[in-house]
């Protein structure tokens, strides 16, 4: 339960909601977590076991959402760095 909550929170903090692919997995994590909460609230050994499996899924979804959100930032940073050098080269070739 705690592991999946931490993953979901981490994904939200990483900005997964603003990255389409990351947002998809965050949504899956939230759905699995919500289903697990319903089963836990229902009580019973089988429900508790099924809830544990759903939380395991939610945690994996959340971890992937975090990685995808971070990857989007890395991609943008790389593109920015490439754009910077392109701009610099244009400026210097124009100035000389």
């Amino acid at each position: 339960m705690e592991s999946s909550a931490a993953s979901i929170r981490g994904a939200q903090e990483a900005g997964a909601e603003d990255v389409p692919r990351a947002a998809l997995y965050l949504e899956l994590a939230n759905e699995n977590s919500a289903k697990a909460k319903v089963l836990i609230a229902s009580g019973g050994k089988e429900n508790m076991a099924a809830a544990a499996h759903l939380l395991m899924r939610a945690s994996a979804d959340g971890d992937l959402a975090i990685a995808l959100a971070d990857d989007d930032k890395d991609r943008q940073a790389a593109e920015h760095a490439l754009a910077e050098i392109h701009t610099f080269e244009q400026q210097t070739s124009g100035a000389r």
Binding site: A60, L64, A67, D74, A78, A81
Partner: protein
């Protein structure tokens, strides 16, 4: 062979055994397990295998758990396969992150290098410009000094000429004309009638003329001899040339540079007074020393 490759081989063996086990297994693999196998195969043979081998290994372990659960037909087999798929996907995303980080580092290093090179080039250009500017300023200062020197020399020369004119004006006619400063000496003072040898008194006066001229001895002089209209033209021309030569020779003897003096006999041409009167003819018999303007050159004869 690296760990990932070994694991890939193990996975292939495992897959084969698992396939053989289907005969004994009651149910077919779930779509979650099939997805997990595909995801792992993709991650373990793609860039992730070399970029993030530890994460590929975690995906392998996760898939093994799912395969065991399938073999044992446990209730969590689908969930474990689901998680195994995510682990394989995670490994691929992490490989992408590593690639992006590498791209970024390369671009930043290239930018830093380009900026360094640009800074160095700018610095060199600045140094060259400073050097050129300093040279130009030095040249300008030299030119300015030369101009000032030339101006001073011209002023000094003018001052000397004025002083000389004042001195000469005491006993000779001095006037400024477009051809230069003209000193007119009476022929009767310099020469006996019909002679071209200087009289003793003329030498004394010419010495004074020379002393005055020495103040401006960088100037070119033109000594011109004139006669009155009496007598034959050829004779007058010859006499005037000899008298001009006599004055030139005297000036040179007193120290005036010979290459700056020329002498011309003009004869009766260009009279300055009426030749019909004795006084007029006396005035026409004369020697003129023309001090040429500065920078004028004449050919010596």
């Amino acid at each position: 062979m690296n760990n990932v490759s070994k694991m890939t081989k193990r996975f292939s063996t495992f897959t084969l055994l698992a396939s053989l086990g289907f005969a004994a297994c009651a149910s077919a693999p779930s779509h979650e397990l099939l997805d997990a196998r595909k995801a792992y195969a993709r991650a373990s043979t793609g860039p992730a295998a070399t970029a993030v081998p530890a994460d590929v290994r975690k995906a392998r372990v996760s898939l093994d758990l799912a395969e065991n659960a399938f073999s044992n037909d446990t209730s969590d087999q689908r969930d474990l396969a689901y998680v195994a798929t995510r682990k394989a996907q995670l490994a691929e995303v992490l490989a992408n992150r590593a690639a992006h980080a590498s791209e970024r580092a390369s671009a930043e290093a290239a930018l830093a290098g380009a900026k360094d090179a640009d800074h160095k080039q700018t610095k060199e250009e600045l140094e060259r410009t400073k050097s050129n500017l300093a040279t130009s300023e030095q040249d300008a200062a030299v030119q300015k000094q030369k101009a000032a020197d030339a101006e001073k020399r011209a002023a000094d020369a003018d001052r000397k000429v004025k002083a000389m004119q004042l001195e000469l004006a005491k006993w000779a006619a001095v006037k400024e004309e477009p051809r230069g400063v003209v000193i007119t000496l009476s022929g009767s003072v310099l020469f006996a009638s019909d002679k071209s040898a200087l009289l003793p008194d003329a030498r004394t006066r010419l010495k004074q003329v020379t002393l005055a001229l020495m103040e401006t001895k960088e100037r070119h002089l033109d000594v011109e001899g004139y006669t009155d209209s009496q007598g034959k033209d050829a004779y007058n021309l010859d006499l005037s040339q000899k008298r001009a030569d006599a004055v030139r020779t005297f000036l040179i003897g007193e120290g005036y540079p010979p290459d700056l003096i020329v002498a011309h006999g003009v004869g009766k041409a260009m009279p300055i007074a009426d030749n019909n009167s004795a006084e007029g003819r006396a005035n026409n018999r004369r020697v003129e020393i023309i001090i040429m303007p500065a920078s004028t050159t004449v050919s010596t004869q």
